[in-house]
């Protein structure tokens, strides 16, 4: 009985479990940063797609269709690697001497001096940017469609009163765009949230990695709580966690929609 109690108490006192709970911050951080970046990249992508200049338009369309044509995991893994290599290559062009290059045995980086250390914080930021880029492509599509959904008359009125192009864009077009974009962006947000489960693939000790480590069967008291293979219970917790986040997000977006839709969606009240 008291053994049982001690065992279950372990879930509150055991440092590994506490670290697990703490690792939720990585997931939440990546979701928030990734989500915000997705909107920003979405705005940029949509602006490119709407541009008057063909090359910019092509870049916008290329970005949104290629990224969407490839699995999110692939891009998620590729981008941090590619970014790291690109930075190292840039540094290498500055710092690598022929001797250093000759001394380098590994295939990459060109020389040891050009190496860039990536720790958890760096990986976390790169992962978030990666999420932002992937889902920014989806957001591009959503925002592009929403920009086109704003009635032309609303923009013409703004032009007719002498607003400059950027004033029309920011004061009317983008302000009204949100209402049409929110349902789609809500969907993108859910995707970002779910994609945060991939963080462990980038060497981040996130909730998924810990669930695997803690749930694995353990025989040795020195290593942690002794139990059989309990992984599915740990994953069930994550499963439920994500469903709850989805539920709360839905609520949140409904509230947001009500606010943003004020004046545009609400019915006549008098």
């Amino acid at each position: 009985m008291s053994d049982d109690l001690a065992f279950w108490l372990g879930y509150l006192t055991n440092g590994k479990h506490l670290t697990w709970y703490a690792s939720f911050q990585f997931t939440i951080f990546a979701a928030l940063l990734g989500g915000s970046l997705a909107v920003i990249f979405g705005l940029i992508g949509a602006t490119l797609k709407n541009s008057r200049y063909l090359p910019l338009r092509l870049i916008g369309s290329f970005y949104s269709s290629i990224v969407r044509g490839v699995p999110d995991v692939l891009f998620f893994l590729f981008f941090p690697l590619a970014f790291e290599q690109a930075v190292e290559w840039l540094v290498a062009t500055q710092v690598c001497t022929p001797e250093l290059i000759a001394a380098q045995s590994a295939a990459w980086p060109p020389c040891q001096a050009a190496n860039w250390y990536l720790g958890t914080p760096e990986y976390l930021i790169l992962a978030s940017v990666s999420l932002g880029l992937v889902y920014g492509a989806f957001a591009t599509n959503v925002i592009h469609g929403a920009l086109r959904a704003v009635p032309r008359g609303q923009l013409e009125a703004a032009r007719a009163y002498g607003m400059s192009a950027s004033q029309v864009l920011w004061r009317v077009h983008i302000r009204q765009m949100w209402v049409y974009a929110l349902p789609g962006l809500s969907n993108v947000w859910m995707l970002v949230v779910k994609a945060t489960s991939l963080l462990s693939l980038l060497q981040i000790a996130d909730i998924v990695l810990w669930a695997d480590r803690l749930g694995a069967p353990n025989f040795l008291p020195t290593v942690g709580l002794v139990h059989d293979d309990w992984r599915w219970r740990y994953y069930l917790v994550l499963f439920v966690f994500y469903i709850i986040v989805t539920l709360l997000s839905e609520r949140g977006f409904e509230a947001l929609m009500r606010r943003a839709g004020r004046g545009i969606l609400s019915e006549r009240t008098n």
Partner: protein
């Protein structure tokens, strides 16, 4: 076809010379010239598709004409390029001039995300960069003038059509325009709402404001205008005082048009 009215001595506020405009293969305006003088009310009439809206939209360059010029207060709006890529040459100039032209759209086009008061204040604040306190006072005064002061904090879609149209008029007035442009200000409204809006426009006319309006309401055109212009197939078919145009119609087309108009 000059007028014998004293208005002729006043300076011309809007001057249009030889305006042409095509959409693809369709030539909508085929060379239109006219002037509107200080304090004059000019009505454009004509059958549907005759190019009235297009003409009005060319005045503030929402449509860029293919040929011809538009001058406001003797300042010509600069354009560049050849059709169909003719463009506004000077963004600063057009913005300045546009804020001299208060356009009221047929479908109101109030900004849906702003309250009525904010709609009215938006252009003075953002374009003319006038101080907020002053603009707010003036906006409230304008709303009172058009009779919807109590709706200042409502959103456009909480208003009836007539109230929306009057809000749109207040919005146009609040930039203190030299000229008001109206595109069928009442055609989206039912007869009751129409009366409300016409009352406001008449009020403006009586104040001596320069106005150019497109209308299908011959009664109204007759009672409010100093001059009536009949457009037909992209050209001015007849032009004159209401008494000349409606009383002593010369063109056969106009006669036919007026006949049809009186039947609906």
């Amino acid at each position: 076809m000059t007028q014998a009215e004293p208005l002729v001595s006043k300076p011309s506020v809007v001057a249009i010379r030889d305006l042409h405009k095509s959409f693809g293969a369709l030539e909508v305006l085929k060379g239109i010239s006219f002037e509107a003088r200080e304090g004059e009310v000019v009505s454009l009439i004509g059958s549907s598709g005759s190019g009235k809206s297009t003409l009005l939209r060319c005045i503030n360059m929402l449509e860029v004409p293919d040929q011809g010029s538009v001058s406001i207060d003797a300042e010509e709006i600069r354009l560049r390029g050849r059709p169909p890529h003719r463009q506004i040459a000077d963004e600063h100039q057009i913005r300045r001039i546009r804020s001299e032209l208060g356009m009221v759209f047929q479908s109101f086009n109030l900004w849906a995300h702003l309250s009525i008061l904010d709609n009215v204040m938006e252009a003075p604040l953002v374009v003319q960069k006038r101080p907020r306190a002053e603009v707010e006072a003036e906006a409230l005064a304008m709303l009172a003038k058009v009779g919807i002061a109590e709706k200042a904090h409502a959103y456009p879609n909480q208003l009836s059509g007539g109230q929306q149209q009057r809000a749109a008029i207040a919005r146009a007035l609040c930039i203190n325009p030299r000229v008001m442009l109206f595109d069928e200000p009442t055609s989206a409204l039912d007869p009751e709402l129409e009366v409300e809006v016409l009352r406001v426009i008449k009020l403006l006319a009586d104040e001596g404001r320069t106005m150019i309006l497109v209308t299908h309401d011959m009664e109204f055109a007759r009672s409010v205008s100093d001059r009536v212009i009949f457009l037909h197939q992209g050209l001015i078919e007849e032009e004159g005082t209401p008494d000349q145009v409606f009383g002593a119609t010369r063109s056969a087309r106009l006669k036919q048009f007026l006949n049809a108009a009186s039947h609906t």
